[in-house]
């Protein structure tokens, strides 16, 4: 599948601070892409650039082969759900659907109505009185009923309770399957993304640390435990992401381009959460105490 999002050395600066720097990505279509990183890492900046709410300071970005939001045709192909699902508090649910119908050429009114009915939303209720989960569902309806090719969601479940979170993600996956969407969603929690994402981008400190299909990443990263050793003595095929030492033992999380053959190491698989945490700690200031890695069974 061709790339849905392509950036080349993309950067965005506010006054003197680079919110995003040197970002080069080529995200293939047909996936649910998770963009994970701590707060302030640049996730929202990247997504805002992708939907045309911001313009780059450096580099280029292309979405579905065109500059973001270049015109009505490009706007119609991308659906967006902003952080905290903003809606017009004074407009009713039905008014929002009318908004979608009037502002989107490809609006599927039947799909929108079905969703609202299935979600048990009262069409006459003012959007300002909806719960957080209902607001997120309404915003998702607006994004999905315009029949886009790509759906971009900025921390869609961050402020939802666990049940609303699960329901939202299930609903999102159903729409993804039904409409064959490509999805990019961001979160600062890996747990949110683990179930639904098959492509991962880790963004820490305004830079992309790692990006790729989840099963490839999990296959390429290992946890090595063995006698105490200087990481610099490792072969070049192994890139150390994070390390932890006691007086007798060394534990390393490495990325390997091939199989690890040294029998001195006990090799374990790495879970997604530990992988992300390792990259986050790698990006942290040197001298910080390294987090002790849990071994995934």
């Amino acid at each position: 599948m061709s790339a849905v999002l392509e950036t080349s050395r993309l950067g965005k600066r506010y006054r003197r601070l680079w919110a995003l720097a040197d970002c080069t990505l080529s995200i293939p279509g047909g996936h649910v892409v998770g963009l994970v990183g701590p707060n302030g890492a640049g996730k929202s900046t990247l997504l805002n650039l992708a939907v045309g709410l911001l313009a780059p300071t450096a580099g280029t970005i292309e979405v579905l082969g065109s500059p973001p939001a270049a015109g009505p045709a490009e706007l119609a192909r991308v659906g967006y759900l902003a952080q905290d699902a903003p809606v017009y508090a004074g407009l009713s649910v039905a008014d929002h659907l009318r908004l979608g119908a009037r502002l989107n050429p490809g609006w599927d009114a039947e799909l929108a109505r079905d969703r609202v009915e299935r979600l048990d939303l009262d069409p006459h209720q003012k959007a300002g009185t909806l719960s957080g989960g209902q607001r997120a569902q309404l915003a998702l309806t607006l994004a999905v009923a315009k029949r886009p090719e790509l759906l971009i969601l900025d921390e869609p479940v961050a402020s939802l309770d666990p049940l609303a979170r699960r329901e939202f993600l299930a609903d999102l996956m159903e729409a993804t399957a039904e409409q064959e969407l490509s999805v990019v969603l961001s979160s600062h929690l890996v747990a949110d993304l683990e179930r639904v994402c098959d492509y991962l981008i880790v963004l820490v400190g305004s830079r992309v640390r790692v990006a790729g299909p989840v099963d490839e990443l999990l296959a390429a990263h290992h946890l090595l435990a063995g006698p105490r050793r200087d990481p610099a003595t490792l072969p070049d095929e192994l890139t150390v992401i994070s390390s932890s030492h006691t007086d007798v033992q060394t534990t390393l999380l490495v990325r390997a381009s091939g199989p690890v053959l040294d029998p001195a190491w006990t090799i374990s698989e790495v879970g997604l959460e530990d992988l992300v945490l390792a990259y986050m700690s790698q990006a942290a200031a040197p001298g910080r105490r390294r987090r002790h890695l849990e071994v995934q069974k």
């Binding site: 045309g52 939001a69 706007l75 902003a82 809606v87 407009l91 908004l99 502002l103 989107n104 607006l142």
Partner: protein, 354 residues
């Protein structure tokens, strides 16, 4: 986008319709009786300027009778207030929140990622709401002009009371008649929208818009309107300019130019040099026959000044310039409105900043 603009504007539109309706009813219930009073006065045959003492006294009598009632002065004053205040209210409640609220509540992230471009969104919102603003204000002005016509005629014949005062060039009247309300409404609205786009929060934007608009509305009649077209100057005897106030000796008419707008009035000597009127008048006083309790009358003062070859120097705009001034001022405000909308709204919403 038309539907969305209307739907978001609905509450303000209803308020405006109710206000217009109430104002219309007020004028409709009092207007006919005012018109019949006017028909019954002896002014109807008179025309502009002091067309003889009979018209002047008829006008004075008419206005005094009106002033003695409670209804007509109240409606007259209320109308002026409403039309003066309408553009400001439009600027604050229609203009300032237009963009600021979308930025404040972050709904821009929803509406700018639908299927229309930001340019189209803004163009439709500004154009439709701006046109509504101009229509409402001009409607108020036209209704009121119809109602107050009799009073305006009486004033133009030289009558005035405490409430019914001010010719068509006076600041309040100039700003509430003709086409200037259109310009003010467009300017106030565009100013509000631009300030909102800059400040990004509705309440502060409302306050700033009010402050700037008020400042402009105060500055315009004082320092800008008089010089929109270079004023004319003339010198004449104090008698011919009817300087009836002994204290200021200000000209009240321009000979040969009835209905002129007098901007300033001073005195010059035979050589054309400015003269300290206070000193000269005082020297006229001191030569008054002693024992007379009242000071010299105005005509006596005029004669005295004429003997000393002191003339009145008047800066004025002829009455024929009323509509050109209206047009130029309205044009300037409309141009300001378009520039504000174009520069601040469209430029500010460019993608470098959000």
């Amino acid at each position: 986008m038309t539907w969305l603009t209307w739907r978001q504007f609905r509450a303000q539109a209803v308020t405006a319709a109710v206000a217009l309706g109430a104002f219309a009813i007020l004028l409709a219930t009092t207007g006919p009786s005012l018109a019949s009073r006017f028909a019954g006065s002896r002014i109807t045959g008179c025309h502009g300027g002091f067309a003889g003492g009979g018209c002047n006294s008829a006008a004075i009598a008419f206005l005094n009778r009106l002033a003695a009632t409670t209804v007509y002065p109240a409606v007259y004053a209320l109308g002026l207030v409403v039309i003066i205040v309408a553009p400001a209210i439009i600027g604050i409640f229609w203009g300032a929140p237009l963009i600021a609220r979308e930025l404040e509540t972050r709904t821009f992230a929803l509406v700018w990622t639908q299927g229309i471009t930001r340019t189209r969104w803004l163009t439709v919102k500004l154009a439709l709401t701006g046109l509504a603003a101009m229509a409402v204000t001009e409607a108020l002005s036209l209704m009121y002009a119809w109602w107050a016509e009799p009073i305006g005629r009486a004033i133009s014949l030289g009558a005035s009371t405490s409430v019914f005062t001010g010719g068509r060039f006076s600041p309040l009247i100039f700003a509430t008649r003709g086409i200037t309300p259109l310009g003010y409404a467009a300017f106030a609205f565009a100013l509000g929208a631009a300030v909102g786009a800059l400040i990004r929060r509705a309440l502060p934007a409302m306050a700033v818009t009010l402050a700037i608009f008020a400042a402009v509305q105060i500055a315009t009649p004082l320092w800008i309107r008089p010089y929109l077209i270079p004023p004319r100057h003339t010198t004449a005897t104090f008698a011919s300019v009817q300087a009836v106030d002994i204290g200021t000796l200000a000209a009240t008419v321009v000979p040969g130019h009835p209905g002129a707008w007098i901007l300033s009035s001073g005195a010059v000597d035979a050589a054309g040099q400015p003269v300290n009127l206070g000193a000269v008048s005082a020297s006229c006083f001191s030569q008054a026959p002693s024992g007379i309790k009242e000071g010299p009358s105005a005509p006596a003062l005029w004669q005295c000044l004429q003997r000393r070859h002191v003339k009145a120097a008047v800066t004025y705009q002829p009455g024929s310039r009323y509509w050109p001034l209206q047009g130029i001022e309205t044009g300037i405000f409309l141009a300001l409105a378009v520039s504000l909308a174009g520069f601040f709204c469209f430029w500010r919403l460019g993608r470098r900043r959000t």
